[in-house]
Amino acid sequence: MVPAILTRGLRKLYGDKAAVDGLDLEVPQGSFFGFLGPNGAGKTTTIQILIGLIPPTSGEVQVLGLTLAAHLQEIKRRIGVVPDENVLFDRLTGFEFLQFAGRMYGLERNVARARARELLELFELDQEPRKLIAEYSKGMRKRVALAGALIHRPQLFLLDEPFEGVDPMGARLMKEILLGQVRQGATIFLTSHVLEVVERLCDRVAIINEGKIVIEGSMRELRSAEDTLEDTFVRVVGGERAVQSLDWL
């Protein structure tokens, strides 16, 4: 089976600085893949390249077996995106946004409308239907963003910090929905700083640092009886150092 995501020698330069530096990544289809790294490692840049927001400087990128450069529109039809920042249209209600998203992804209007209603109910956002997204809490925004990514039943989900700011109830709901998608054959590619969540959800993980993959493998490989994922993470990114003491601190 073709990988859901395949990159070879992917590079993204900003001046002299390489945000992504020769990234070789392979994400199997049907997997729940965690893409981890410290701040500034290149996680968000990688996702932005994969969704076509920014062009790579060099390297090969394939998504769902299609070359990114040649089949960008087709790829976009098949992926669902939840970005890290608040990039929702905040002057729409949740329902309007979901309908809009559905229609943008080619759904018939009545289908988009019906699915929007169902998704609002599923994500427990239907209690205040007239509320504008501008008035949503951070967690609600993440949920409606995920709903917007789900409405067209994509084959691949690209989620950048999907659980950031989400309360435990909302996070559990999102996890259940995402796991359900994986059981139905979808692929989830997510970044997160919440390693406990990654440990519980992901079957494969890659850790990136300074634009390069430093370790990749199954959760079982990366974790052992002695080491948690956090221990492995800190060790491979070179984060182990004595905390300096400051005179005034």
Binding site: L53, I54, V87, L92, E128, R130, L132, A134
Partner: protein
């Protein structure tokens, strides 16, 4: 002012300077800055001329004339000082309280900063007052120790009062109903001089105003106290009054500032929640109209147009400018269009509705097609990861803007009908056709400026200035050039008295506009794709601790 407060104020001003300096890395900002410098030079040149005129007047005018004129002059200055920002709905530079609230800044320190900002934005008034003071100083140098402190007190009073009024107004403008009432008041205030001109009752009105002013206890006014100081007639009570006024203004200003400060704390995101009812958004006629537009088009166009119409109609800034187009334009052009007015011209009478429509087109453009992604801001990236081409997005946004333009033309037609300025159906048809043709040229330019010079727009900040950017100011300046093909048709009509020439040139303008639009749309779409990184960066950019309008 304590040492700590001074340090904090200087720190804020320093990072504001750094924000401004870093923003000049963007080419659009540099172009905008050049244009702003040009416009500012002309603007302050005019005020300097006024200051020089006042200096000479105070130096050479007879004592009797000075005594009669100075109190009224200073009162006018005071009224203009307070009213000008309100009438233009342009609040000038202000502190972004949300950002400043994180730091251990005393609210009094912030208020002091606000007053300094008000002082900076009152440069015109300071100039004029300086001109008067220099003239009086040359006339009577021995009185300098008297009127210099009085002038300083007058400035302090005006600055404190304007700080209070500004904060009060900004809070009130966040309320839905108030915005529209405020606009109506601006329009009425702007209409008054036009109305006086039109009815030819300037002298009568002037005499009545003079009588009213003289019936007021003028000795109470701070402007009178200052005039007395200039005229060497100040008494102890004048000084007490001046100081009393300053204290009252300080109390009022601080009270309003403090209310704004804590009301910003109370909102979830000061930019959003305050503008909306706690009960949520109720669907209105515009939402139904948006769905109607969608029935005429297939998806994704319909979805995009529907979203755009909803988005714009829910943005206070857009609604404000839409209403301005319907009202202020009428008021501004009325003396030229009415047959009885002293400024009436046959050309403008015959094409009055067209002139209003073209003015409305320009106003709408500032918050729509000249900066199509302004209100979307960071959400613009959604268009780049969804399977919709940038050309479709731009075209849909253009369609939405044109839909509002057509709505505005209908509204203007109704107003002209009430004013008996609409002679028949053909005048309406002419306005519609000419404006739509002109829009083709402006949309063509706008699609390019939206990609090349994007700027995030706050939907909440109600200001007459669209994005406040120099580039868009340049477009306003070049407006006649941009619609030259249409103006050429009118030239044929009124100079050569050729109706067939008018229609022929209009048809040519339409063809040219359509060709230009069809050529620039894919170009803009291609640029959007190639420059998407920069476009998204520019739209996600915030401002420094001080926010400019």
């Amino acid at each position: 002012m304590t040492a700590e407060a001074t340090r904090q104020i200087l720190a804020v001003l320093h990072i504001q300077w750094l924000s401004f300096r870093n923003s000049l890395r963007r080419r659009s900002e540099r172009i905008g800055l050049l244009f702003s410098i040009f416009v500012t030079t002309i603007w302050y040149g005019i005020w300097m001329a006024a200051a020089a005129g006042l200096c000479l007047f105070s130096l050479w005018a007879s004592a009797e004339r000075l005594s009669r004129t100075l109190p009224a002059l200073l009162l006018l200055l005071l009224v203009y000082w307070q009213a000008s920002p309100l009438l233009t709905a342009s609040m000038g530079v202000s502190i972004d309280l949300r950002k400043m609230a994180l730091y251990p800044l005393n609210v009094k320190t912030l208020f002091l900063m606000e007053c300094l900002l008000r002082l900076m934005t009152s440069a015109e008034m300071i100039l004029v007052l300086s001109g008067l003071t220099v003239g009086m100083a040359m006339r009577a140098p021995q009185r300098i120790p008297i009127f210099l402190p009085a002038t300083a007190l007058f400035v302090v009073f005006s600055v404190l009062l304007s700080a209070g009024l500004r904060n009060l107004l900004e809070r009130l403008l966040q309320r839905r109903g108030f915005r529209e009432i405020f606009l109506l008041l601006i329009v009425m205030a702007s209409a008054t001089p036009q109305f006086i001109l039109w009815t030819g009752s300037g002298e009568k009105v002037g005499r009545r105003i003079y009588r009213i002013l003289h019936s007021l206890p003028q000795f109470l006014l701070p402007s009178t106290s200052l005039a007395q100081a200039y005229l060497a007639r100040s008494t102890f009570s004048n000084w007490i009054l001046m100081i009393g006024w300053c204290m009252a203004a300080a109390g009022f200003g601080f009270w309003q500032f403090r209310r704004s400060f804590y009301s910003d704390f109370g909102s979830r995101s000061g930019d959003h929640a305050a503008a909306f009812s706690r009960l949520g958004y109720r669907e209105g006629p515009l939402d139904r109209w948006a769905r109607l537009a969608a029935r005429l088009l297939p998806d994704p166009w319909a979805a995009l147009v529907e979203k755009e119409v909803r988005y714009l109609s829910r943005s206070p800034r857009f609604r404000f400018l839409f209403l301005m187009g319907c009202s202020f334009g009428v008021v501004a052009w009325l003396p030229f269009g009415m047959s009885r007015g002293p400024l009436a011209t046959g050309v403008l009478q015959a094409s009055f509705l067209t002139v209003l429509s073209l003015y409305a087109l320009l106003l709408l453009g500032q918050v729509t097609f000249f900066n199509s992604f302004g209100f979307d801001r960071a959400a613009t990236r959604y268009f780049f990861w969804s399977p919709v081409s940038p050309a479709a997005v731009l075209a849909a946004k253009n369609l939405a803007a044109v839909a509002f333009l057509v709505l505005e033309i209908f509204a203007l037609s109704f107003i002209c009908l009430l004013l008996r300025m609409l002679t028949g159906f053909w005048q309406f048809a002419e306005a519609l056709v000419v404006t739509l043709i002109s829009s083709l040229y402006l949309l063509s330019v706008g699609n390019l400026t939206s990609i090349l010079f994007p700027a995030a727009l706050s939907p909440e900040r109600v200001s007459r200035a669209g994005s406040g950017r120099g580039v868009q100011g340049l477009i306003v300046f070049l407006y006649p050039l941009l619609i030259f093909p249409v103006l050429a048709a009118y030239f044929a009509r009124y100079y050569w008295h050729s109706r067939s020439g008018f229609l022929l040139l209009l048809a040519a303008a339409a063809a040219g506009g359509l060709a230009l639009y069809l050529a620039t749309l894919p170009l803009a779409a291609r640029l959007a794709f190639l420059r998407r990184e920069k476009l998204l960066q520019d739209l996600s950019r915030g401002e420094g601790p001080l926010v400019s309008e």
